[in-house]
Subunit: 106 residues, 2 copies
């Protein structure tokens, strides 16, 4: 049970999840959006599946991947747990300060 956040952090896998957000896709379809081999995409999908973020069903000779909502929910909760109230506060203060600076532009 690998760390979902760690699995989702890799740039290629992030894009894969975003592509799958619009609906189920085949491996070749997904691979066509990347400069790397289909094999590489297949391995990335394997990592995502192992982390519980995607599932796949076989349909004829194609394998169709889709997002696993429950896995994504646990990813969501883990990121929410990271953004503690203190961190949120810091970010909010930074945003307020930035807008103050902007309003001082000459």
């Amino acid at each position: 049970m690998p760390d979902v956040l760690y699995a989702a952090a890799e740039p290629t896998r992030r894009r894969l999840l975003q592509l799958l957000a619009s609906g189920p896709r085949t491996v070749s379809d997904l691979a066509s959006h990347f400069p790397v081999t289909r094999s590489a995409i297949s391995q990335h999908l394997g990592v995502l599946a192992e982390a519980g973020l995607v599932v796949n069903r076989k349909e004829g000779r194609r394998r169709i991947y889709s997002v696993d909502p429950s896995g994504m929910a646990s990813l969501r909760s883990e990121t929410d747990r990271f953004w503690s109230s203190e961190l949120d506060q810091l970010v909010a203060d930074a945003a307020a300060l930035a807008s103050t600076i902007r309003s001082n532009d000459s």
Copy 2:
């Protein structure tokens, strides 16, 4: 300019950011919360600094690290950009389905 999300994903660095959320801390103070060497922590802090997530000021012979609010804000925006409306919808549906199942418990 390394990928902020990738830099923040590493477990030790995540905890470092959470520790720093409660306020500025010295390197030794931070290192005391981990099973690894102070050198390792120092290098992790270097990665976080390079990603713009933390800053440090020298105070006597101690170096005090704190969260860089603007860097954390960009991390925040990048995670928000990841959670597209489609992904949010999937997670929300999963939560609704889960509660439906729970209410069917015997």
